[in-house]
Symmetry: C2
């Protein structure tokens, strides 16, 4: 048995980079596809491209700005995140991000690579923590992934999501500090 | 001792009505004054009027719209609230509101009148609950007022507010259902 065969499969390394204008089409394809499922984001199936662009790469809440980053497999965009400030002014030291992965590339470490990058980038920009305001409680894969990356559930908003299959389900608010990034 | 003297002071009744375009100046005066204190809202002292207008009566997050309401004492605007949806699409059945009272009219039941109106209005519009995402934990008067009106703390975001006097303090997320409104 060769050494190569004995090795465990290694999670592929993904490179995360700031999105450029030309990346929008690939981001939108992922965004549009993800919201069809109606089980992870508040944006519904009919979300127009212009709204998606606004929430992913636009001015953000109160004009604090959204910055998009992407992971590519060759020329193909396979994952993206959008980084913003969770609040304006006296709350602008807290980051917020959303993540989306192309359906053909899930379970391959893309989301984790995006998240690690976003935490480091948020810290670099001076934020002290990252908060997710809107983790659908039935999305256990996401909840567990974020927990494994140091996030804790700091709040539960009851019945705040109309899940396409399950009806009204809870929303989790998750948080982690960035000191150790 | 006359019957009149034995009576406890009765909280004044305030009438809440939708804001009109001409009300903006009075709203802005309260908004600008409130954010100077740096102890209740994330908008800081330098928040420009156009930003204030956007967050109070503008298109809102994702274009879901903000509606302002006012309380007047004669012609003078003494309190205002802004009602919006807490999320887009699959989360748009949850309401969110912000309240501000003129400094000369605090402790006179204006905030309570505004809140009662906002809960009824949110229910009328089809929302099942009201959520406050950003109650500064050191603002005990507000926390206790909301609790007395049926809100509970459903989450604590640590060190998420840069208080002008106290530095980094926690933010509470508060919530109540609207079934009984």
């Amino acid at each position: 048995m060769s050494a190569a065969l004995k090795q465990k499969p290694v999670a592929r390394q993904w490179t995360v980079a700031p999105a450029t204008e030309g990346d929008w089409e690939g981001i939108w394809q992922i965004f549009h596809d993800v919201v069809q499922d109606g089980d992870t984001y508040s944006y519904d199936e009919s979300t127009p491209e212009e709204t998606a662009r606004q929430v992913w790469v636009g001015a953000g809440k109160y004009g604090t700005g959204c910055q998009a980053f992407v992971v590519k497999d060759g020329e193909k965009i396979v994952g993206t995140y959008s980084l913003k400030r969770n609040h304006y002014g006296r709350g602008d030291h807290i980051a917020n991000a959303g993540y989306m992965v192309h359906k053909d590339y899930r379970g391959q470490g893309v989301a984790r690579s995006l998240c690690v990058h976003s935490l480091a980038e948020a810290k670099r920009q001076g934020c002290i923590s990252m908060q997710f305001n809107y983790v659908v409680s039935t999305n256990t894969a996401a909840v567990e992934a974020w927990q494994s990356m140091g996030f804790t559930i700091i709040g539960v908003s009851p019945k705040s999501y109309r899940h396409k299959q399950h009806g009204l389900v809870d929303i989790y608010i998750m948080h982690r500090f960035l000191e150790d990034m």
